[in-house]
């Protein structure tokens, strides 16, 4: 059950190309699990920006000195994220938390690989801790275009058994993409479950690699959202249900985490003909 909280911006620290924000407020950390996200209102009541912005929860800490806190990682690259990254400590931020379905955790202490692209690493150390607490083995791989777009590498090094970094330009770790190193990590780690958060093409490749090896994949997708709470039908993508039927499914309430093998990767941005209620010829 999400709470709408007028939070206080406790800290705003630039980390590479991102900003690490700490938000404090009553109930802001209640019920938060790895994979949950928050939505944040942009600007004042007269703001020309009428939709909220979504951010993965990096960390949630109930009951600190300043009440509960919640941490996010912001990549400023548009009007709203620029605004948020520019806010000063002390400002009041309208936050709704938690939103969405979190990562499903394995019942048994199995070996897990956590794959992140860019700010997709935001929820990963949080997830790694939960998994470790359940006795799971945790391996991790972070990929990014360049070093300044990597986040939380030190924490990952600390918590992961095997940890790899890839960058497109080779400025850090292996030059290349996460998909170049994942196969070996699957082998060395005897991976049972792979978790991924990052750009859609990366998620697709992770899901494909996992499928080849019958590894369960859990991917956190990123679709454009207007409401973030399930009322507008903006954030849908074609997902295959337990009944084998494909539906245009809301990623804000039924996701953002989906099983990788349930996402119709080839049909993203379309409505597959076999999708429930797909348009007849001539379209809707």
């Amino acid at each position: 059950m999400p709470n709408q909280v007028k939070a206080r911006l406790q800290s705003n620290r630039k980390v590479g190309e991102y900003h690490h924000l700490v938000l404090a407020g009553e109930k802001i950390a209640d019920g938060v699990k790895p994979g949950h996200f928050v939505s944040i209102a942009i600007g004042d009541t007269n703001s020309p920006m009428v939709t909220r912005r979504a951010f993965s929860i990096h960390r949630a800490t109930p009951m600190t000195a300043h009440g509960s806190t919640l941490e996010i990682v912001v990549h400023p690259h548009g009007t709203g994220t620029d605004w948020l990254a520019a806010q000063e400590v002390g400002t009041t931020i309208d936050v709704i938390s938690p939103l969405g379905k979190p990562f499903a955790l394995p019942k048994n202490p199995v070996s897990c690989l956590l794959v992140a692209g860019g700010y997709g690493s935001a929820p990963m150390t949080f997830l790694a801790e939960e998994l470790t607490a359940r006795g799971c083995q945790v391996d991790m791989v972070f990929g990014a275009g360049t070093e300044s777009k990597l986040f939380d590498v030190l924490a990952a090094k600390r918590i992961a058994r095997f940890f790899e970094v890839t960058t497109d330009d080779g400025s850090s770790g292996v030059k290349g993409r996460v998909s170049d190193v994942i196969p070996n990590m699957f082998l060395n780690g005897h991976t049972a479950v792979v978790y991924a958060c990052g750009p859609m093409p990366m998620l697709e490749s992770v899901a494909a690699l996992a499928k080849q090896r019958n590894i369960v994949s859990q991917v956190a997708v990123e679709e454009s959202m207007a409401c973030g709470i399930g009322v507008c039908m903006t954030c849908v993508l074609p997902i295959v249900g337990d009944d084998g039927i494909t539906r245009m499914t809301r990623s804000c309430v039924d996701g953002p985490v989906f099983r990788g093998d349930r996402v119709r990767w080839d049909d993203l941005g379309t409505v597959p003909d076999d999708c429930l209620g797909a348009p007849k010829v001539g379209g809707h």
Partner: protein, 309 residues
């Protein structure tokens, strides 16, 4: 000083004039997490069609200056599922419910209405003849008096005489008053003003339309002046017809403007996306705006802009 928020929408009496706008509140369940939906005037549900419908391809949304474009394309579970899940929940919850219906042709409107007629949870129907998110602009019934009237007549024949029926009109017409005349003439008890304006935005990288549906519906504060004008015009043309006003309402003063222009009730839409508790907040704000002007009831301010004009 306490303000009497009760509103009469034709034969429907509402706790307050604040409704949700169709398609921006689903069937109320999600919003009920943020405020008690039984405490506002009522819920107008997402337009429902006969069969399950996938809606359009993504992207379905673009933010624009003080507004947004959407091209959802009436995604929904179909009327049977709607009755079984959404309507049942609304009935149990005890929320005043106005059901929005849509169809690809007049016959489908009739079929949907048939399935819903007489359902105890339904206080009235909003007939969405103005959705811009259809492949064929010709399918926007509200663009032509005759087709608008035909649909309304079909629905009327299905739901029985004088069951509350509101026709939702499009601002993308040469004369909205003319359309309003024709739907009232065809049996609508009232009109809902306005649906979104047809708009488009291009992707700054590809320079192609962003939306999967290419065009989309413009909503939000940006369109409020057009909506106020539409309500004012139709109120002037049809002094006694119940009007549900909407378009960019995000505060109590906005709501008051619509009431003064001639709306008997108002719907909150896009504002819900930035603030899920907007309908409740706006209801509180409206109450104090009315009190601040030394009025005692909503009834006193409805259409007041037309007095002595």
């Amino acid at each position: 000083m306490a303000v009497d928020l009760h509103s009469k929408l034709g034969s429907i009496s509402l706790k307050s004039p604040i409704l949700t706008a169709s398609g921006t509140a689903a069937s109320g369940k999600e919003l009920d997490q943020f405020f008690d939906i039984t405490q506002i005037g009522g819920i107008v549900t997402k337009s429902i069609m006969l069969n399950p419908r996938s809606g359009r391809a993504t992207p379905r949304m673009v933010e624009t200056p003080s507004g947004m474009l959407n091209s959802i394309g009436l995604q929904g579970p179909g009327v049977d599922q709607f009755i079984e899940n959404d309507l049942r929940w609304l009935a149990e919850r005890g929320a005043t419910t106005i059901v929005s219906i849509a169809g690809n042709d007049a016959r489908e409107f009739w079929q949907v209405a048939q399935k819903l007629r007489g359902h105890p949870a339904i206080a009235g129907f909003e007939v969405n003849i103005s959705c811009p998110n259809v492949a064929n602009r010709g399918l926007v019934f509200a663009c032509h008096p005759a087709s608008a009237a035909e649909v309304v007549a079909e629905v009327r024949s299905a739901v029985g005489a004088d069951f509350p029926l509101f026709a939702k009109l499009s601002p993308d017409v040469t004369s909205i008053s003319e359309i309003a005349y024709s739907v009232v003439d065809a049996g609508a008890n009232g009109v809902s003003l306005i649906n979104t304006l047809l708009g488009m935005a291009l992707d700054h990288r590809t320079l192609k339309p962003i939306l999967g549906g290419r065009t989309g519906g413009l909503s939000g504060p940006a369109i409020r002046p057009v909506a106020i004008r539409a309500v004012y015009q139709v109120r002037a043309a049809l002094p006694d017809v119940p009007i549900i006003g909407m378009g960019g309402i995000r505060s109590g003063i906005d709501a008051l403007e619509f009431l003064a222009a001639g709306a008997n009730a108002i719907s909150v839409g896009t504002a819900i996306f930035s603030d899920p508790s907007a309908p409740m907040r706006i209801q509180r704000e409206l109450e104090s705006e009315i009190a601040a002007r030394n009025f005692r009831s909503v009834a006193e301010v409805v259409s007041i802009a037309h007095l002595g004009v």
